[in-house]
Amino acid sequence: MWQWIHKWASPKHFYRVSTRVAPWLWGLALILLTVGALWGLAFAPADYQQHDSFRIIYVHVPSAMLAESCFALMAVCAVVFLVWKIKLADIVAKVAAPFGASMTFAALFSGAVWGIPTWGTWWVWDARLTSMLILLFLYFGIIALRYAFAREHSGGRAAAVLSLVGVVNLPIIKYSVEWWNTLHQTASFSLTKAPSMPESMWVPLLLMMLGAYALFGAVVLSRTRNEILRREHRARWVRALITDTCDKEH
């Protein structure tokens, strides 16, 4: 068991295996997102109350889910890095942070734009919107903290501690709409109950969500590979690999 984990945590092994996985993830993301986008924009029926502004759901929900999932991933990596000192976990946490921050911004922006025609306002200080804004600031803090240290290792540890502190915000975001009175509605989609919309509306949403997760996987995996090359640039296998790509070009 421990041997297996250490083999996986070795950058060289991870790099070799991910070479085969990455293209599939990129392809899957492209197909799912293209089909989901066309379906959601042009073929899904409009809502009887919100009409075509309902179509914002197809980008709002996936980006909000990624914003939270990305933070959860960073928290898991933080525990692994702090307790077992596995460097790969620090690399994954590092490359995931900008992706999560951009998804949080995308969720806030698409929600604000959606709020104008449906609620009559683009922003209210309700628990869901405020906790999501706090998530964005947490991401900024984690990214900034990493670069505030001269030594890469210290920066990684500080960022890991902040992501563990920030992880309490995740259940607050999720349950804010149930614990308090908010303008934001409760979840339309959950693992435990039937979706609150017919098939013709939720199938494209599911495709967009799966596509977004595939893209998340592809970006984090590929950037982890880049970061491995950068950190291991002195290793013989990295040198051999890079010279190899150079030879192929000429």
């Binding site: 990129w26 997102l33 986008a37 924009l41 042009a42 073929f43 899904a44 029926p45 409009a46 009409h51 075509d52 502004s53 179509r55 914002i56 980008v59 709002h60 996936p62 980006s63 900008p98 992706f99 951009s102 998804m103 911004f105 995308a106 922006f109 698409s110 734009v113 959606w114 104008i116 025609p117 977004a212 893209l215 592809a218 970006v219 590929s222 950037r223 590979r225 880049n226 090359l229 950068r230 640039h233 990295v238 040198r239 890079i242 010279t243 790509t245 150079c246």
Partner: protein, 58 residues
Amino acid sequence: MAFQTLNEFLSMNGYGVYVWSAWAVVVGAWGVQAGWVHLEYRRVRAGILRQIRREARS
């Protein structure tokens, strides 16, 4: 198909500004993240190649 004409699709029956701006920002964010990966790879690779050449010279 939920729309009869291209114009109707683009205007989203009056909600075009909202729908298209929200989609543009989210899809744009995905695009930027995906593009960044490839730029970063090129930069890292170029850096390592530079170092290999420098070490070969000295």
